[in-house]
């Protein structure tokens, strides 16, 4: 077996560690993040609180662990929306290349691309109230054209191949060919793209929560922890540093994993990558 790329190993390990933290925090955290102990506020790191406490006396490590749930959940569902809606659209466009359907899907995609995603996310959350669900929707909508484009682009060349021709002669319809023969062959590219969108989703969620349009209190989220820390940047700079480090580390891990996966799954792409 070929040696796995180092980027994949490092990135995968970081990502897995965060996933594990988030899972563990579902059942156990060092301290309860719902209890506020003002007497304990702004403690420096100690054996009881490895990363110290925040302005309400909550354990920072526990807060970060629970916060990872929000980030990961939002990004996962947003990527899911993109995959579930975008990929079938892209496959359909590729199956009917040059048809009206193809035109409509691709022009629709162009339009969504032309929008600054952040502005629309702000618009949606402004009108329907800030919540994690609306943040997911706002981020997810912009994943649809990305996946549609990748699916269409990578499916198009496959339609000219012999095995697809054979499947057609055997009487299979376009939908069945797309599902049985095209999809498995473009899955690699979709997985790589999903990793990239996942890391972009984490960043987008953090930005929305930071401006108060993401998950609402008392649900801890990294972006909002940063927003709250900003008001105390003179007295408790660590509160502003740690959640940001968590975001950077997870996004870096996902990006490395994406690069590594791309190398491992498709050596042809190794050159000329950005």
């Amino acid at each position: 077996m070929r040696r796995l790329p180092t980027a994949l190993l490092i990135g995968g390990a970081i990502s897995a560690a965060f996933a594990l933290l988030a899972l563990v925090s579902l059942v156990w955290t060092p301290h309860d993040v719902a209890t506020l102990t003002i007497a304990n506020r702004l403690q420096p790191p100690s054996p009881a609180h490895p990363l110290g406490t925040d302005q309400f006396g909550r354990d920072l490590l526990s807060m970060l662990m629970v916060g990872s749930q929000t980030s990961i959940a939002v990004a996962v569902v947003a990527v899911g929306i993109g995959l579930i809606i975008g990929v079938p659209l892209g496959l359909a466009a590729a199956a009917r290349r040059g048809s009206l359907l193809d035109e409509v899907i691709m022009r629709g995609n162009d339009l969504i691309f032309a929008f600054p995603s952040l502005v629309i996310a702000i618009l949606i959350t402004a009108r329907y109230g800030p919540s994690a669900t609306n943040a997911i929707l706002a981020i997810g909508i912009f994943n649809i054209p990305v996946f549609a484009r990748v699916a269409r682009g990578s499916a198009l060349p496959l339609w000219t191949l012999d095995y697809v021709m054979a499947a057609r002669t055997a009487g299979k319809g376009a939908a069945r060919i797309s599902a049985e023969h095209i999809l498995p062959n473009i899955a690699n590219l979709l997985i790589v793209q999903a990793t990239i969108q996942f890391s972009l989703g984490i960043l987008a969620e953090a930005a929305l929560s930071y401006v108060g349009l993401g998950a609402q209190p008392p649900v801890p989220s990294w972006g909002r922890m940063l927003a709250e820390a900003q008001t105390m940047i003179y007295t408790a700079p660590m509160l502003a540093v740690l959640p940001g480090l968590a975001i950077v580390l997870l996004v870096l891990g996902l990006n490395l994993m994406g690069d590594g996966l791309r190398d491992a799954l498709d050596p042809r792409l190794r050159r000329g990558r950005v």
Partner: protein, 313 residues
């Protein structure tokens, strides 16, 4: 070229129409009474009715949409509900913060990215190349608003070289530019990282081209060949990304303005949101989307001027 221009202009117009429809739909068509939303739970029936009349909510949706779009075409963005002044006036002041900020960040990003990308490409495989690629990988992962906070922590809190936020106005250009510096750096860094990677890979791509080999055969050194012949070609993808980044900088500025308390369009939108002033939110959003779509259009045109091949497609 004429035909190309016409087609791009048509697609620009279409994008703007669809964008305005989407924004209008999100704000006004989808269930829920905008007037009730703006006034909150304690509004009386009278004030609700008055606001509905103010907003023109009694008329048909088609009429309202046409009035909104028609108004914007003539520079009338509606009257802000909370400030009681025309939105156009609110926007005009704030534009002079948001646009310079985006332009400043774009200049910084380009000035950092191009040399860095060229150095990395020129020393492919060396320690410098790996160092640069690693650093850009890290910068891409940094949320710009958090980087902004770190800048405040270092340069405003610890070193006290800059103020932590606010904007003194353009009466003193030096002070104005100084107050935009930290925000511009925060906006520019992640963009510069992306741009440097694009520059590097675009330049590496040209190294294998025949014209570089020809130039080398004619006696140019590798460095000369790349700088004289490769760079020009490598700039095409780089220009696209710069164009895309400008629109991103306009949008990204919304968040950064909040970190530094800059009185720009981003602050205006968020004030509109917290005050539930949907008129401000609707018009300013449209304006931002317009700016982004217009920049994309201009980049396309600039492109066609530079590269004749694109006009024929």
């Amino acid at each position: 070229m004429g035909l190309y221009l016409a087609r791009r202009a048509l697609s620009l117009t279409l994008s703007l129409i669809v964008a305005s429809l989407v924004i209008f739909a999100v704000i006004e068509v989808i269930p829920g009474d905008p007037a009730a939303y703006m006034l909150g739970l304690n509004a009386t029936e009278d004030t609700l009715a008055a606001l509905r009349a103010d907003l023109g909510l009694e008329g048909s949706k088609v009429d309202r949409y046409l009035a909104w779009v028609g108004g914007m075409l003539t520079g009338d963005f509606g009257i802000s509900y909370t400030y009681r002044v025309p939105v156009a006036d609110l926007v005009a002041d704030r534009l002079w913060v948001s646009l310079p900020l985006a332009a400043y960040a774009l200049i910084l990003s380009t000035a950092i990215a191009l040399p860095v990308g060229i150095i990395a490409a020129a020393s492919r495989g060396s320690v410098a190349d790996y160092g640069i690629m690693g650093a850009t990988q890290l910068c891409i992962a940094i949320p710009n608003f958090w980087f902004a906070m770190l800048l405040v922590l270092l340069f405003a809190v610890t070193l006290q070289w800059f103020s932590a936020g606010g904007f003194p106005g353009w009466d003193d250009p030096g002070a104005a530019i100084k107050s935009l510096t930290l925000p511009a750096v925060a906006l520019a860094l992640p963009q510069a990282a992306i741009l440097a990677r694009v520059m590097r890979s675009a330049l590496l791509e040209t190294l294998d081209q025949d014209y570089i080999r020809t130039a080398r055969a004619k006696g140019l050194s590798r460095g000369q060949a790349v700088l004289r012949h490769g760079l020009k070609n490598a700039l095409i993808p780089v220009l696209t990304i710069i164009g895309l980044q400008f629109s991103f900088l306009i949008a990204g500025g919304i968040i950064i303005e909040n970190v530094f308390f800059l009185p720009g369009l981003g602050r205006l939108i968020f004030q509109g949101i917290t005050q539930r002033d949907l008129i401000v939110v609707e018009s300013v959003t449209m304006l931002l989307v317009f700016a982004v779509i217009l920049v994309t259009f201009l980049v396309d045109i600039a492109y066609a001027l530079v590269d004749p091949r694109l006009r024929r497609r």
